[in-house]
């Protein structure tokens, strides 16, 4: 038992050692953004109408006249304290703008992954237990549509049918769970397709193994065999997909937010690009990428806890 724990701990430490350089890389790329855009960073930060006095003051305030590596450490020092600078357009701390928007995108992504997991797991399990049945064929065709449909188009279609014609859901805005349902379905459609395919493939592999045959031979009820024994084992590879899909939702949310006119972090970043508000773009990039990296790390840890192979490797 002790040995198994040590192996899990070793695996987790290994993952953290991979996680740290990636996090440093993400911070480097986010920091470099301002320096990669053609033009003087101080002038970019000051905005189009700024006078030379203001630009000079800004250069000193942000330390833009210092060597790049010092600027990078300053950036990290500020970011760790939650300071992403001041928005060029709003003259407001970026973190104030990011906080609410980011929490909203997290909520939307979380609801989407719940919907995707529910639909994907259910469809995947039923398909695998009735391979080549009508349900299996229909759900796999559905999955093909799910991965092929552009999120923004599916969002518009949902809006057209359920908001405009049926009037079941609001067409935009936020505040209640009801406002989030359609955007979450649009965002989760592709992921539910991926999870359904993955669950089906994984279940098909597991239900052909000896321990399932033994469980059936022992007279266990089919539902217990499938949902307790088979699904538990089939879930191991599916867990990795959850982490990845959650990340893609953080990225894809920008499209859903645009379709449903929701103010999330993706939309904030795109607005930042249009307005050349670089601190906003930097902050959004850093926050979303860091969240994705952390989610992946947590997924890896969950994987280690669930997968017996890691314990006995």
């Amino acid at each position: 038992m002790n040995l198994a724990r040590k192996k899990i701990a070793k695996y987790i430490v290994k993952r953290i050692l991979v996680f740290l350089p990636v996090l440093i890389g993400v911070s480097l790329i986010s920091f470099s953004l301002l320096h990669m855009v053609p033009g003087d960073p101080a002038e970019l930060l000051a905005g189009e109408d700024a006078n030379s006095e203001f630009i000079k003051a800004l250069r000193q305030e942000y330390g833009l006249d210092r060597p790049l590596y010092i600027q990078y450490f300053q950036f990290i020092f500020h970011v760790v304290r939650g300071d992403f600078g001041i928005s060029i357009r709003n003259r407001e701390p970026v973190i104030n703008l990011l906080r609410e928007r980011f929490l909203f995108t997290l909520q939307l992504s979380f609801l989407s992954i719940l919907i995707a997991a529910f639909i994907g797991l259910l469809a995947g399990v039923i398909s695998s237990t009735r391979q080549y049945s009508l349900f299996d064929n229909l759900s796999m065709v559905g999955a093909l549509f799910g991965i092929s449909m552009p999120i923004f188009w599916f969002g518009l279609l949902l809006m057209l049918v359920f908001s405009v014609h049926l009037k079941w859901f609001p067409a935009g805005g936020k505040g209640t769970l009801w406002h989030l349902i359609l955007p979450a379905i649009a965002l989760g459609a592709a992921s539910s397709a991926v999870i359904a395919r993955m669950t089906r493939a994984s279940m098909l592999e597991v239900i052909r193994q000896d321990f399932i045959r033994t469980a059936r031979a022992n007279g266990l009820r089919e539902a217990i065999v499938i949902y307790k024994h088979a699904l538990k084992n089939a879930m191991i590879p599916v867990i990795t997909v959850f982490g990845l899909e959650f990340g893609y939702m953080l990225g894809g949310a920008v499209l859903t937010e645009t379709v449903f006119s929701l103010s999330g972090v993706g939309r904030l970043m795109v607005e930042g690009i249009f307005q050349r508000d670089y601190p906003i773009v930097q902050g959004s990039m850093f926050l979303v990428a860091t969240t994705f990296v952390v989610v992946n790390l947590l997924t890896d840890i969950a994987y280690a806890l669930f997968d017996p192979k890691i314990r006995y490797e």
């Binding site: 350089p21 993400v26 991965i147 188009w153 518009l156 990340g247 990225g251 795109v270 990296v293």
Partner: protein
């Protein structure tokens, strides 16, 4: 001669397996139709794509305009046909950028291993840390919107996938006897990489290229939908959808048609790519 004969029989075997896969064939037909539409756009489209008649705005499908007209009175069918041309151009340029750079990085990392491989793969991890379309948006943030930058962004966005797949393939191939034999007779690293390892890694590269055509189309049209890609009046499907949003209630067909085109083409490449994977190397199946 012998080698050529072997290759011909391999191609025949792949074709035989592909023919039996109806879904893959359907995908192939969609892809062929899409490419033909893109190439023959000037002959197929009934009207010039950017010329409109403001007196005929947002018309429903009719004999004169089979798919109706857009908010500027332009023929929707012609714009969708020309949109195929823009999409194919974006897909080809982006996927070639990703394939060339990604394959090279994957080959070098996988073959030489050690610190170089470690650095390259960590760099790929960093790129993959920007989830989905977010990486492409971040690149556009630096380069600025536009068709050329969109192709670059979509290309860079796909590099890690090629690099990882090729690296994996090289890692398993480099220990094989034929590579050791080549080394033993004094072949240079360059020759081993390009004459022995690369040709044997083509199956996963071809599959990835086909599947990436689908992803790149989704990404590029998504960026154009956000206003970060192709700019009006160029008839790009994502941009057309974005313009149609304001007319969702009065003229829903304007938004339906370009979305349907994207979905069909993405589906075609996905089906064909999956079929190719199964035919080229059944072991590559998930």
């Amino acid at each position: 001669m012998n080698n050529r004969g072997q290759k011909t029989s391999q191609v025949r075997e792949v074709w035989r397996r592909l023919k039996r896969n109806r879904a893959a064939l359907a995908g192939g037909v969609i892809v062929l139709l899409f490419v033909a539409t893109a190439v023959l756009a000037p002959w197929l489209s009934p009207c010039p794509p950017n010329e409109g008649d403001l007196t005929k705005r947002l018309q429903a499908p009719s004999r004169e305009h089979l798919l109706g007209t857009d908010p500027l009175g332009r023929d929707l069918l012609s714009r969708v046909i020309y949109g195929a041309r823009i999409s194919l151009q974006i897909q080809i340029v982006a996927v070639v950028i990703a394939m060339v750079i990604g394959t090279f990085l994957g080959m070098v990392g996988g073959y030489y291993g050690g610190t170089l491989d470690h650095i390259l793969m960590r760099f790929m991890d960093i790129l993959l840390a920007f989830p989905g379309i977010f990486l492409a948006i971040s690149i556009i943030a630096v380069l600025g919107p536009g068709l050329t930058n969109l192709m670059l962004a979509a290309g860079i966005y796909s590099i890690p996938q090629f690099a990882r797949i090729v690296r994996g393939s090289i890692l398993s191939l480099k220990e094989k006897e034929f590579v050791e034999a080549a080394r033993a007779v004094g072949e240079r690293d360059f020759d081993i990489l390009f004459r022995y390892l690369l040709p044997n890694s083509m199956a996963p590269i071809i599959v990835q290229t086909t599947l990436r055509m689908a992803t790149v189309l989704l990404t590029a049209s998504g960026l154009s939908f956000l206003g970060l890609g192709v700019q009006p009046p160029t008839p790009e499907w994502g941009a057309m959808l974005s313009n149609a949003r304001a007319y969702l209630i009065t003229a829903p067909h304007v938004a339906t048609v370009p979305g349907l085109a994207i979905m069909l083409v993405v589906m075609g490449f996905n089906l064909f790519g999956d079929g190719l994977r199964d035919s080229l190397d059944p072991r590559l199946r998930d």
